[in-house]
């Protein structure tokens, strides 16, 4: 009875209101993105003042100007640097965090609970307590203006969030599987690599995509550690753009902003399901 009642209500005038509401939110949320696309085809002078979303006669100047690079550096340099750091981070996070998560989820060793509590504690630790001493450390090791300071933490499982995500996932795997593997004589390394890792693919993919996007968007890391323009990432290239011509070349800046977003948007379109489900499960277990 109540089911049928609900079904009837769902088809009523509520549906129209629902779609209207959803479209309003959609418009607000996507407006900046659509505006950016439109603006990148406008002449610089029209970008701020003009109210129309898309120009009457679109121009490609903003993009052709990008091929000249920023301050004599071709923008491909920034993209290659960002890609190197982002891909390097993904490899590091997937390997180191999954090893750590396996230990927490599947190995019964002394001190595990304390270490887990400490690991969760680092999740709440503001990064800014660490930036000064880490900078001093890397400066003493003469690693400033290399990519090492930006990558090393990824290989040492310092991204507690991903460890946490993978622990959650591994705990959900049926216990019988790894018990059976143990009975068949598999050691932990074998169990980790051949049983747990393949089954954890959703958690690994989620972590990989988040890592790529975070590394791509990162601003503070490159700002601190990179000081020569040929080492700059895309974020830093954009900053150079602002420093250079704050008013003069709005068009180029907007076009570059959009190009800088392309990898993130592409990743998002391809993997949004993983990302969203990964995010949803991180807060819940049940």
């Amino acid at each position: 009875m109540s089911l049928r009642y609900a079904a009837v209500r769902r088809r009523g005038p509520g549906a129209l209101a629902w779609h209207l509401g959803a479209l309003v939110v959609l418009a607000v949320v996507l407006y900046p993105v659509v505006w950016t696309i439109g603006a990148s085809f406008k002449p610089s002078a029209d970008i701020i003042g003009a109210l129309d979303l898309f120009p009457a006669d679109p121009i490609g100047d903003n993009y052709t100007r990008l091929t000249e690079g920023i301050a004599d550096i071709p923008i491909s340099t920034f993209f290659l640097n960002s890609a190197y750091i982002a891909v390097g981070s993904v490899v590091g996070v997937v390997l180191s965090c999954s090893l750590t998560a396996y230990a927490f989820a599947k190995v019964r060793f002394a001190g595990r609970n304390i270490m887990f509590a400490v690991m969760i504690g680092t999740l709440l630790l503001p990064y800014h307590v660490l930036i000064i001493p880490q900078y001093v450390l890397f400066q003493k090791l003469e690693l400033i203006n290399t990519f090492t300071p930006l990558l090393i933490g990824k290989y040492l499982a310092t991204d507690a969030f991903f460890v946490f995500l993978m622990v959650q996932f591994m705990r959900g795997l049926p216990k019988e599987l790894d018990e059976a593997a143990r009975l068949d004589g598999c050691g932990h390394l074998r169990t980790y690599w051949s049983i747990v890792m393949p089954l954890c693919r959703p958690a690994l993919v989620t972590s990989a995509i988040f890592t790529f996007i975070n590394a791509w968007n990162d601003f503070m890391g490159p700002l601190l550690y990179l000081n020569e323009p040929d080492k700059y990432t895309v974020s830093m290239g954009l900053k150079m753009f602002i420093d250079q011509d704050a008013v003069a070349d709005y068009g180029g800046m907007i076009a570059m902003s959009l190009v800088a977003l392309l990898p993130v948007l592409a990743f998002f379109v391809a993997f949004q399901r993983y990302l969203i489900d990964g995010m949803a499960t991180s807060g819940l277990k049940g």
Binding site: V29, Y127, M220, A260, Q272, K285
Partner: protein
């Protein structure tokens, strides 16, 4: 079975006794043996953990100790640190720009976080209804959460909120003479808050997952009793999703304290007209890396840690009063 993993005394990983439904099912002779880890298990555990242990010692614990030491010194990276006791802290409290940074950050956290979470919850409730196109909307609403942290988004924000741009024009049409938000010391912080609210997608998805676990029978029973929309919201929805709400409040608050990139770029690397977007980390960066006051910046870092710790502690303490876990007790 909604239950948050991050809570004091939360279930330790692999501690199956506290996993509901599994308890006791595998007891027997091996249980005792399994409790006492063998030497091989210890070795395997530490080997697997070794990247994390190294990372924790060299990149987290060690630097924390060093930063605590530096916070009592004057240090410019080139000369040896000079011990000055509590001077950095007393300088800080006497520094009007430091106080400004605390004020700006508090404002950002106190307004941005609740508005963002309210938006996230409202949209999640909209999407919780089964309708055509629901998963498309869910994905589209999530997108800004990924883009929002980038320099690109901050640049676009500057363009949208500057003089004579769309926000300004809209206000004029509506009859407000306010001008662009970016150049206005009173308003630029709200442009920054709008940027964070725009990224409501991540908490929205977590709310959505929580809403899906609320048993529908509760609503049906309440409807029989004649409960209206608001009653159902306050007496069923809110208590049932309080664990997820807690999780979101905790993460978003901690996250907001640490805002840097967007504040820095939105205000063109200057932290705003008249220090209007001088968020805490902006000032920390300026003192440490522009003015080479590493000791002072370390002291600032430690105060941030204390502040975040206090807020976290208060949230955990308060959860007893408003967070309802299904298993009762916790």
């Amino acid at each position: 079975m909604t239950h948050i993993q991050i809570s004091p005394g939360a279930v330790a990983p692999g501690d199956d006794r506290s996993v509901p439904g599994r308890s006791g099912s595998q007891d027997g002779p091996p249980a005792n043996a399994a409790k006492r880890p063998g030497r091989g298990e210890n070795l395997a555990g530490y080997l697997f953990m070794s990247p994390w242990i190294a990372g924790f010692l060299f990149l987290i614990a060690g630097p924390m100790v060093f930063s605590l030491y530096l916070s009592f010194t004057e240090y410019n990276l080139f000369e040896a640190p000079r011990w000055i006791g509590l001077q950095n802290f007393s300088d800080m409290f006497a520094d009007p720009r430091w106080r400004q940074s605390v004020e700006v950050t508090s404002w950002y956290v106190l307004i941005g976080t609740p508005v963002k979470l309210a938006a996230a919850l409202a949209v999640a409730m909209l999407l919780a209804q089964k309708r055509w196109g629901q998963s498309f909307y869910r994905a589209a609403f999530y997108a800004p959460s990924l883009i929002g942290a980038s320099v690109s988004a901050a640049i676009v924000w500057r363009a949208l909120f500057s003089d004579d741009a769309i926000v300004d024009r809209t206000q004029k049409v509506l009859g407000f003479e306010v001008g662009g938000w970016i150049g206005d010391p009173e308003m630029i912080i709200y442009a920054l808050i709008a940027l964070t609210v725009w990224q409501f997608g991540a908490p929205m998805v977590i709310f959505l997952a929580g809403l899906k676990q609320v048993p529908q029978e509760l609503y049906e029973a309440a409807e029989m009793d004649g409960a209206g929309r608001w009653r159902k919201f306050f007496h069923i929805t809110l208590p049932m999703i309080s664990p997820v709400l807690f999780f979101n409040v905790l993460l978003e608050t901690i996250h907001s304290f640490q805002i840097f990139g967007s504040a820095y770029i939105v205000s063109n690397g200057s932290c705003g007209p008249a220090d209007a977007t001088l968020v805490y980390t902006c000032y920390l960066y300026e003192q440490g890396f522009v003015n080479s006051r590493m000791g002072f910046a370390s002291a600032m870092g430690w105060l941030l840690l204390v502040a975040v710790g206090l807020v976290t502690a208060v949230l955990f303490w308060s959860q007893k009063r408003w967070v309802h876990y299904e298993e009762g007790g916790r």
